[in-house]
């Protein structure tokens, strides 16, 4: 393959990455099977790779790909009687569609309909019948438009592992007959939580890699932020979706400052804040404001958001009504993602580490711990309290976690304990704790940092 062909192929694949999620979503609704829809979408990609380099990219490439995908579905049904029987109604609809769409491919479908299909795809990729690993792989593949090879590279596992996860996930969805539908009102909150968690896990894997020697993998962070933004566009009335966007934008702003030139980790308090990306900070603030507005809107008795009026899709209206109904009085408080974003925003507002408003941050952690009473949140709350009320107050909270044996394998527990002991002048104990933390750290860059601290204190 010469260079020009290679360039053309990459150009077609770029269009593909942009269009694939909507294409697969639309085809899944038509044929009712995610695996088959993906095969059809791949066929459309192959057709594009054959035609576009010579004919040029069509004016509406998404509609072109969809038309080809539908035609392939028709071919398949005509060729294979099994499919025809299984997809009887689909076959009739497609034959009709085929007759009306003869000639130049490229009729655009109704925009709200496409967005609803995309949202259905989000929910099916993050469905609770799937393992968290499968949800992650499927989400990156179907919604992030990543190839199996790209996902494997991001997670430092063999490509075959990811391919197998995706195959199994699709089989599970088919076997369990998971419908391609938006969740019912009563399960919306839980299903949405699963979606947000998948995106957050993807971001975190990029932000503090659990494996390998590199401390961060920014590409994975970027994929996660993009997914969060897409979700915010699909569910503009959901406060927590905007909360997640805000959190990820704000954390992204620090990506450039979190790694030293030699690849070692730089912790928040030591970062050069001049290297924080101001644009991502401002985007984070804006998303946090949208989160607040959506929360107040949902809590209002007869709230009807402007975005709902703009979007006339029936499902979109139903969704907005669901969201309003779900917002009972107890849910008017900011959710966990909005609270974590507010904490990140408080850090972003401090021009120097010394100017950090720890009182506010401790208060936000109190609220977060009330909703999300996990040991990790409690540990972070201890850090904030130690800054607001002194290291002794923080250590008391940390020691409660130690006594409860709440985080036996979490390296940050001894690391935080060590920091507090240093501030209390108990250097020997601190050194031992840093060594213990280094032993538990799974990430090379982080381990180096902890060993360095232990050495400074004369331990190790």
């Amino acid at each position: 393959m010469d260079e020009a062909d290679e360039r053309a192929r990459r150009a077609v694949e770029a269009v593909w990455r942009i269009e694939a999620p909507r294409l697969v979503a639309g085809l899944t609704r038509l044929v009712g099977d995610l695996g088959l829809a993906e095969d059809l979408a791949q066929d459309a990609l192959v057709a594009a790779l054959e035609q576009w380099p010579d004919d040029g990219v069509p004016h509406n490439p998404g509609a072109w790909l969809m038309t080809v995908g539908k035609r392939r579905a028709v071919d398949l049904i005509r060729r294979d009687q099994n499919y025809a029987r299984k997809l009887e109604q689909v076959a009739r609809d497609l034959e009709t569609a085929e007759q009306t769409a003869e000639g130049e491919p490229g009729q655009a479908a109704d925009a709200p309909e496409i967005e609803d299909d995309l949202l259905r795809l989000v929910f099916i990729a993050c469905h609770p019948v799937l393992t968290p690993q499968a949800r992650t792989a499927l989400t990156l593949r179907l919604l992030g438009g990543l190839t199996t090879a790209e996902i494997a590279r991001a997670y430092l596992v063999p490509e075959a592992t990811i391919a197998q996860r995706i195959v199994r996930a699709k089989r599970t969805l088919a076997e369990r007959e998971v419908p391609f539908e938006l969740p019912e009102r009563q399960e919306l909150a839980e299903r949405l939580a699963s979606v947000l968690e998948v995106i957050y896990l993807i971001f975190n894997e990029g932000y503090t890699a659990t494996a390998g020697e590199a401390w961060v993998r920014p590409a994975l962070c970027e994929d996660a932020v993009r997914l969060a933004r897409v979700l915010a566009g699909l569910m503009p009335g959901e406060s927590e979706v905007h909360g997640l966007v805000a959190l990820l934008e704000l954390q992204s702003s620090r990506l450039g400052a979190r790694t030293a030139a030699d690849g070692t980790a730089v912790l928040l308090g030591d970062q050069d804040r001049g290297r924080w990306n101001r644009m991502f900070i401002l985007r984070g603030f804006a998303a946090l404001a949208r989160s607040d507005a959506a929360r107040k809107e949902a809590a209002a008795p007869h709230g009807s958001s402007r975005s709902d009026e703009v979007r006339k899709g029936r499902a979109a209206q139903a969704r907005a009504a669901q969201a309003r109904a779900a917002a009972s009085a107890s849910e008017r408080a900011p959710g966990p993602y909005a609270l974590q974003a507010a904490i990140a925003a408080a850090h972003a507002r401090a021009l120097t580490a010394e100017e950090t408003d720890w009182r506010t941050i401790a208060r936000l952690y109190d609220a977060l711990a009330a909703q999300l009473p996990t040991p990790v949140v409690e540990l972070n709350r201890a850090v904030a309290v130690s800054r607001a009320d002194g290291p002794g107050a923080g250590l008391a909270l940390v020691d409660r976690l130690v006594a409860a044996d709440a985080l036996p394998h979490y390296h940050l527990l001894p690391a935080v304990r060590a920091d507090l002991l240093v501030r209390l002048g108990r250097a020997d104990e601190a050194g031992t704790e840093y060594l213990r933390a280094a032993e538990l750290a799974g990430n090379g860059a982080e381990r180096t940092l902890l060993l360095e601290r232990a050495r400074t204190l004369g331990a190790g």
Binding site: A14, R17, I18, R226, V230, M279
Partner: protein
């Protein structure tokens, strides 16, 4: 994206049709999570030029007289590849009618390191 219309061979400004089409595209780009920021630049009469040359910094009202290329606007995208940036830029160029002549330069933003 650095948007550089050829003002000698283009309308004085975007008409309603172009504004609508561009608005739709920018909204699509926002929903796809790729558009971080965008803006159009004001008229040349309101521009000032700060010039550094021969160890001296001078300030002029108006554009630098020798400038042949005039920047009309910008868009900052976050994408996975150069090809993806080019594809969105192609779509941006495409919404302009036949009466427009413009170059849109696609350049990477250097990562701070």
């Amino acid at each position: 994206m650095v948007i550089k219309p050829d003002f000698a061979n283009s309308p004085a400004g975007p008409d309603e049709e172009l504004m609508t089409a561009m608005g739709e595209l920018l909204s699509e780009m926002t929903k796809a999570g790729v558009l971080l920021d965008t803006g159009g630049l004001g008229p040349m009469e309101q521009s000032s030029t700060v010039r550094r040359s021969g160890g001296k910094t001078t300030v002029h009202d108006g554009p630098f007289t020798e400038a042949k290329e005039i920047v009309g606007g910008f868009a900052l995208l976050q994408v996975g590849s150069r090809e993806e940036a080019v594809e969105w830029t192609r779509r941006f160029a495409d919404v302009h009618g036949d009466e427009w002549t413009l170059d849109v330069e696609v350049r990477p933003v250097m990562e701070a390191s």
